[in-house]
């Protein structure tokens, strides 16, 4: 990591906190009042759809930015227009996104807004209404995905079954678990445990771990209530 320029700045706070109860697999956004408001609006049943999308996109963007922070980079030096050199860093290539349809697609735009030409694969998983068993219906992934870091996108996890199924698909495509970062907004402790027990190498980025997940997310975001 490059040394931050002035070392005397008093107010810098980390934006991400490792949740100890999941042995370093789960990293949570530091909850500021601002982020709490985003979560509150998404949780509130009286929120209008237009507000819901606006606030969801903001929260997604923050999670995506944190996800990108987990990707590899190299230090480099460049020249500024004033003719001075600046020691910065350059993102490395070889990443991709994978969204778990349908609600994961809500996060695609957030990723696209940060990385204009990133490759995005899709996996369609449907839960059986009665058994809650997740079933893979469709998957389309970049051909060289096994060599890439994967940002897996799925906003709400209540059981973790869907993500566990998606991880199976990724393993079938010879992807190393260690290279998978799950971008998630809300997750239950049980879901986190389930996913980690099946894929101990995964990193989960989330904004909140709460016993009740806002399961209405996909329907409200896409307006299919």
């Amino acid at each position: 990591m490059v040394e931050p320029a002035p070392d005397l700045i008093q107010n810098t706070v980390p934006s991400l906190i490792i949740d100890e109860q999941f042995e370093g697999n789960v990293k949570k956004l530091r909850i500021t009042d601002n982020i709490k408001e985003l979560q509150t609006v998404l949780r509130d049943k009286s929120t209008s759809r237009s507000d819901f999308i606006f606030y969801a996109d903001r929260l997604i963007r923050l999670i995506v930015e944190e996800g990108l922070n987990q990707l590899p980079y190299k230090e480099c030096s460049i020249t500024t227009p004033t003719g001075h050199s600046y020691n910065g860093l350059r993102y490395e290539k070889g990443n991709c996104g994978v969204s778990i349809m349908r609600s994961g697609e809500a996060m695609e735009q957030g990723l696209r807004d940060c990385c204009r030409s990133i490759r995005i694969g899709k996996i369609l998983i449907q839960s059986d209404e009665d058994t809650h068993e997740a079933k893979v219906l469709y998957a389309k992934l970049p051909p060289d995905i096994s060599r890439r870091k994967v940002l897996l996108m799925y906003p709400i996890m209540s059981t973790g079954n869907t993500v566990a199924q998606a991880m199976k698909v990724l393993r079938e495509h010879k992807i190393n678990e260690d290279n998978v970062i799950l971008l998630n907004l809300f997750c239950t402790p049980q879901a986190a445990k389930n996913v980690i027990s099946e894929s101990p190498g995964i990193t989960i980025l989330t904004s909140e771990i709460h016993p009740v997940a806002p399961n209405h997310f996909g329907q409200k975001y896409f307006g299919t209530e």
């Binding site: 990591m1 490059v2 931050p4 320029a5 002035p6 005397l8 700045i9 008093q10 107010n11 810098t12 706070v13 980390p14 934006s15 500021t32 009042d33 601002n34 982020i35 709490k36 408001e37 979560q39 509150t40 609006v41 949780r43 509130d44 049943k45 009286s46 507000d51 606006f54 903001r58 963007r61 923050l62 930015e65 990108l68 922070n69 990707l71 980079y73 480099c76 460049i78 020249t79 500024t80 227009p81 004033t82 001075h84 050199s85 600046y86 910065g88 860093l89 350059r90 993102y91 807004d113 940060c114 204009r116 009740v212 997940a213 806002p214 399961n215 209405h216």
Partner: protein, 534 residues
């Protein structure tokens, strides 16, 4: 809109015209300087309204053509307001000139000539005419019969007048009533006068109140012979306002003359300067202008070079500074936008990503309240919502404007004001040229935006403007992508309650006030107006 500088009102007492026009709903104004032209032949206030209008139009055109400044690809059409506060951000009080004299003595002409000859921007003219009391029905009828005494001190609302001048003296914005001489009441709208470097205050009884006198730095009495004044009144009231000789004389003998002798003439003794013959007295006016210039110069100082040297080595940065955590993303984005070889579309893209992160961080510092909401999962959720304090954005043109879209992406339906501040190439000092702010900004939380802050001179001026509009200091957050240490120190020292928020702090500022290593001229790179070698 030039009314902020020039205001032509009819001389008081028997007046019967609307003193003002051209109101603006928003707090908008463009600063125009006086013309460079030397003193023209004197105009007496007895000229017809049409002639006045023409004079005003002429002044207007001279104003805009007199001050066009080209430098490189930049063209400035107005003169800006130089700093009106010191390096600690504290106000330098404006120079207040009081002008008194009998009715039709030529006070307005003297005021106008002083403004013209001063040739400095930011002069406000305040007229006592705006402060006539509202008349009741009975008084209104009296006025119609020429039986109401407009020349008596009781006809004026001195309380409001003192409060107004005091605020102007503090550099604050004021709302001046518009008096309707037909209905003898105040118009529902008010006229906005901004804090200025020179305030000229004219009227028949300007020296009547002790409190007013204490606020004046210079007191001028316009002493015109009473025969001349009566002659002017007769011509004006009969020819221009179509009144009859008898009525005018009646009013003059009953009210105007006694009031002059009782209330106006005695105040002559407090005056610093007597101007005989009114507006025709060019020698007196030139002497006054010379004196005011000297006074203004004594107050001036080099602000920016002082600011560039601000900062102390080794001391911790001020606690009001907040810098985004230097994560890989932040550093990587900085690498893109600082690189001189980055193409403009990438420059725009990556700088906007950085701005969005900046504003999400800025939003974490505004006040929130705890709420409890119902969820579709039938559990209640303890959360946070914004308080009723409204948030608005204010961008410092031009580079600050680039940040508006990122702010809008974070704050739904936010209102945005703009402030244009440009550097004067002769003095190297920032000058205020234009501003447009949301109307009720004083009760709002303000995200002040500028892409880069080097010496902090422009940011300080913008903060000063906000404070002059009664925004609370603790409700201002200065948001920028890059700051120099000197800028951080200057702003934090002058305005300790303002939150300073940025994504990176660089050590140095060069003698051209560019940040090093810096980012180059952000506005030029973003808008594509930068110079490139062929």
């Amino acid at each position: 809109m030039s009314e902020n500088v020039f205001e032509f009102t009819n001389p008081p007492s028997s007046a019967s015209s609307i003193s003002d026009s051209g109101e603006d709903d928003d707090q908008t104004f463009i600063i125009k300087s006086g013309p460079k032209s030397p003193i023209k032949s004197p105009k007496s206030p007895t000229k017809s309204a049409a002639a006045k209008k023409k004079a005003k139009a002429l002044l207007g055109s001279a104003k805009s053509s007199g001050r066009v400044v080209h430098s490189g690809s930049r063209t400035l059409y107005t003169a800006g307001r130089p700093p009106w506060y010191n390096s600690q951000g504290q106000l330098k009080k404006p120079f207040v000139i009081g002008i008194s004299g009998g009715s039709a003595s030529g006070k307005t002409t003297v005021a106008r000539k002083i403004i013209e000859a001063l040739d400095v921007p930011w002069v406000s003219l305040l007229s006592m005419d705006s402060f006539y009391k509202v008349l009741n029905k009975e008084q209104h009828d009296q006025a119609a019969r020429n039986e109401y005494n407009f020349d008596h001190p009781d006809a004026f609302d001195f309380e409001l007048l003192i409060a107004t001048l005091r605020r102007l003296k503090e550099g604050k914005i004021v709302e001046v009533p518009i008096y309707n001489f037909q209905t003898h009441s105040r118009e529902p709208t008010e006229k906005t006068i901004y804090g200025a470097n020179v305030v000229i205050f004219e009227g028949i009884l300007t020296f009547y109140s002790k409190e007013l006198l204490q606020m004046m730095d210079m007191k001028i009495f316009v002493d015109t012979d009473s025969d001349v004044r009566l002659a002017r009144r007769l011509i004006r009231d009969i020819n221009v306002r179509g009144r009859d000789l008898e009525g005018v004389l009646h009013q003059y003998n009953k009210f105007v003359k006694p009031a002059f002798e009782h209330y106006i003439e005695p105040t002559m003794t407090v005056a610093d300067i007597m101007v005989p013959r009114g507006g025709e007295n060019d020698v007196a006016i030139n002497l006054i202008v010379l004196h005011v210039h000297t006074q203004l110069q004594n107050r001036g100082f080099k602000l920016r070079s002082k600011l560039a040297n601000a900062g102390c080595n080794g001391e911790p940065m001020p606690t009001s500074l907040y810098v985004l955590q230097q994560t890989a993303q932040i550093l990587g984005l900085h690498t893109f936008i600082r690189n001189k070889d980055t193409a403009r579309d990438e420059f725009i893209f990556y700088s906007q990503r950085l701005m969005r992160l900046l504003f999400e961080y800025a939003m974490s510092m505004v006040p929130f309240k705890s709420v409890r909401v119902e969820t579709p999962q039938s559990v209640t959720y303890e959360g946070k919502r914004l308080t009723n304090l409204k948030i608005c954005g204010v961008s410092i043109l031009r580079a600050g404007e680039t940040m508006e879209s990122a702010l809008c992406a974070v704050c739904k339906n936010i209102r945005i004001g703009k402030i244009l501040i440009q550097t004067n190439f002769d003095t190297g000092e920032p000058e205020l040229h234009y501003l447009r702010l949301p109307k009720d900004i004083k009760d709002q939380y303000v995200m002040l935006m500028d892409a880069t802050v080097a010496t902090g001179a422009a940011a300080m001026m913008a903060i000063r403007v906000l404070l002059d509009h009664d925004v609370k200091e603790e409700n201002i957050t200065l948001c920028s992508l890059l700051m120099a240490e000197s800028g951080v120190y200057s702003v934090a020292y002058a305005f300790p309650k303002v939150k300073i928020l940025t994504t990176a702090v660089d050590k140095e500022v060069n003698d051209k006030f560019h940040i090093l290593p810096g980012i180059g001229n952000f506005g030029d790179r973003f808008f594509g107006t930068d110079y490139f070698e062929q």
